[in-house]
């Protein structure tokens, strides 16, 4: 069995988790007006890593909020090149992962894209329409470039599938919290903690719940089982409706709630 290299993102997240902290990974759409300030604000207010979305014309895993952010970012002329260029100069000490649909990778080529991520200082990639069976070529290139590949696990996965996903996963494992696309929900779906519990029983890689984690209370609830959360739509709503400061305040609020729940001062 192949043992995957533990990269910078995973070792960072493991160290923090092992110190008793719950992990918080905000998502920000690259190229959206004010996005670099939002990244800095998230970093300054307690994010453990930040997921940067590269906008795509046809984001099938995303609900209305991130669709809107992606459309507007594209209208502003954002491309993978401009986003990675801006990331280079962002100067924060929080590890970064990019989220992109596979055609963005495919059109550049697996090798070229993974190297461009590495050169921009990005640690990991999340490719939501590249399931295990299609991931071999990408993973080969990403491993070669030192880019960690965060795999998604879904509530629909039969028992035998999860270990195979975990075997190919590094950085963290992204537990899809519900059946559906990204977006805020009134309550945390019961599927979220069920899936996180299944994954925790199988792996030592940090397990983060994403999709449908919509506020501080839900982040705390999810983190009773998972190692932490990824929060996207609720973060982007604050950037879209307000500004980067609102993102910073919100990340700070969730950070505080997570810390309070585990008794960190």
């Amino acid at each position: 069995m192949a043992v995957l290299h533990t990269g910078k993102l995973e070792s960072h997240l493991r160290a923090r988790r092992d110190a008793g902290r719950k992990l918080l990974v905000p998502y920000i759409t690259g190229g959206y007006l004010g996005w670099t300030d939002a990244v800095r604000a998230a970093a300054a207010n307690g994010a453990d890593a930040i997921e940067i979305g590269i906008p795509f014309s046809d984001p099938v895993m995303d609900g209305p909020m991130i669709q809107l952010a992606s459309e507007q970012a594209l209208e502003r002329g954002a491309t993978p090149l401009t986003i990675l260029q801006e990331l280079r100069s962002i100067d924060i000490d929080v590890p970064l992962a990019v989220m992109c649909y596979y055609n963005t990778v495919h059109s550049a080529g697996n090798e070229r894209f993974s190297h461009s991520l590495a050169e921009a200082g990005v640690c990991a990639a999340i490719v939501p329409d590249l399931p295990l069976e299609e991931a071999t070529e990408w993973c080969f290139a990403a491993d070669g470039a030192g880019i960690e590949t965060v795999m998604l696990a879904a509530p629909t996965a039969p028992e035998e599938r999860l270990p195979r996903i975990l075997q190919r996963c590094n950085g963290f494992v992204y537990a899809v919290g519900l059946l559906g696309v990204t977006g805020e929900r009134d309550e945390l779906a019961s599927t979220a903690t069920k899936l996180a519990a299944r994954l925790k029983a199988l792996t030592d890689v940090p397990v983060l719940i994403g999709v449908g984690v919509s506020n501080a209370a839900q982040a705390v609830e999810a983190s009773t089982v998972a190692d932490g959360v990824v929060m996207g739509a609720s973060v982007m709503r604050r950037l879209i409706e307000h500004d980067a400061d609102a993102v910073g305040e919100y990340v700070g609020e969730v950070r505080k709630a997570l810390d309070a729940a585990v008794g960190v001062k």
Partner: protein
């Protein structure tokens, strides 16, 4: 015989299953269920009975003596426009909805461009007692108002897709988002030979009835195979259906694309909607918006098996302009008394243009849909 994809769902280097992890088990379940049903004589008999007694198969061949004489060719139409609901879409939908029922699904979702697949889906859902929601680009809801009303009359819910280009590609996105959320009890009835494996293969198998019938009918009528087999290509289900009967003959296979949606002609390989195939995209992989007079061909991608047939040189994919299509639409109406769907008018346009190079040859054209749905739009264009 066309090839059968292996477990990786590939036709050569095209196809595959590029879907969110949530949908992978559903695609695997569907693959197994289709394999099981397709090899079950009870299922096949039930489907064949529906195709005969409900859809009206087999569809006939009509020789176009007037237009053929005018163009100097022998022109034969495969009349899929005479099927119940007015197009070839019913062939696949009856199969898929029967399969959905066999899998215990309670509801289907579908995308539609011109509305023909939506109408066929609503029809089959009404017949077989399943709920039906159809996503349709907002632009298409406007230009195909009659089909929208038809779907609602049949009991389906029609939801305008308001994102992106607000046409077929965005309707596919919305249908996939719905399916991601409802996969446990919902069947996604994809309207063409596109999407993740097993859809391109499965829809082809359901549409291969066109080619199987046409081959036997041509041999009876002509004593041989035609020189050209022609069809329009958006996603490419009617084309693959008729090609399937002739891929092992000497016939040249021609898939006509709209100039503004020429995925094979102008695209490069890309990944969207679950498949790797030719795709109109920019240098960063953003999918471009197709521009075509016909809503049914307004799609920037194409089914992966067409990409494969193009890559090995077995089929050709020329394109025609909207202006040529408008002429073709009127040409078939005036010479033969048959109003074709705007999609099929693309093929008429290509045949009229290329006739000087096909003198004395026999051309089989798949008339995959009737033009009633397009009459209001043509009335606006022609004044």
């Amino acid at each position: 015989m066309l090839t059968t994809p292996g477990a990786d769902g590939r036709f050569g280097e095209f196809g595959g299953r590029f879907v969110p992890e949530t949908l992978v088990p559903a695609c695997q379940e569907l693959e197994a269920a289709f394999h099981d049903a397709w090899n079950d004589t009870v299922f096949r008999t039930e489907l064949n009975d529906l195709l005969r007694d409900y859809a009206g198969r087999p569809s006939i061949l009509t020789e176009c003596h007037n237009l053929g004489r005018k163009l100097g060719i022998r022109l034969i139409l495969k009349r899929e426009d005479l099927n119940h609901t007015g197009s070839h879409k019913i062939n696949s939908v009856l199969g898929q909805v029967l399969l959905a029922k066999r899998m215990g699904k309670k509801r289907i979702v579908a995308e539609t461009g011109a509305g023909q697949h939506g109408v066929a889906s609503a029809t089959a859902a009404a017949l077989l007692g399943l709920g039906c929601k159809v996503y349709m680009g907002e632009v298409d809801v406007e230009r195909q108002a009659l089909n929208v009303f038809r779907m609602r009359l049949l009991g389906a819910e029609v939801v305008p897709a308001k994102s992106g280009s607000r046409t077929l590609k965005d309707a596919v996105n919305e249908a996939m988002r719905d399916w991601v959320a409802t996969v446990e009890h919902t069947y996604y009835a994809i309207g063409s030979v596109m999407g993740p494996h097993p859809y391109p293969f499965m829809v082809r198998q359901f549409q291969s009835v066109i080619g199987t019938e046409a081959r036997a009918q041509c041999r009876e009528l002509l004593g041989t195979d035609p020189d050209f087999v022609t069809a329009c290509v958006g996603g490419g289900s009617n084309a693959i259906g008729i090609f399937s009967g002739f891929v092992d003959t000497h016939a040249r296979l021609i898939g006509v694309e709209p100039a503004g949606g020429a995925a094979v002609g102008r695209g490069v390989p890309g990944v969207v909607h679950g498949m790797r195939s030719y795709l109109m995209q920019d240098e960063y992989g953003q999918v471009q918006e197709a521009q075509s007079i016909s809503a049914g061909l307004d799609y920037p991608g194409v089914g992966p098996e067409h990409s494969y047939l193009a890559s090995i040189g077995r089929a050709e994919y020329p394109s025609v302009t909207d202006a040529e299509v408008i002429e073709g639409f009127q040409l078939l109406a005036k010479t033969e008394g048959i109003i074709p769907a705007l999609e099929c008018a693309h093929v008429v346009a290509w045949i009229a243009r290329e006739a000087p190079n096909m003198q004395g040859k026999t051309v089989l054209m798949n008339l995959s849909g009737r033009g009633d749905k397009d009459v209001a739009q043509m009335m606006d264009i022609l004044g």
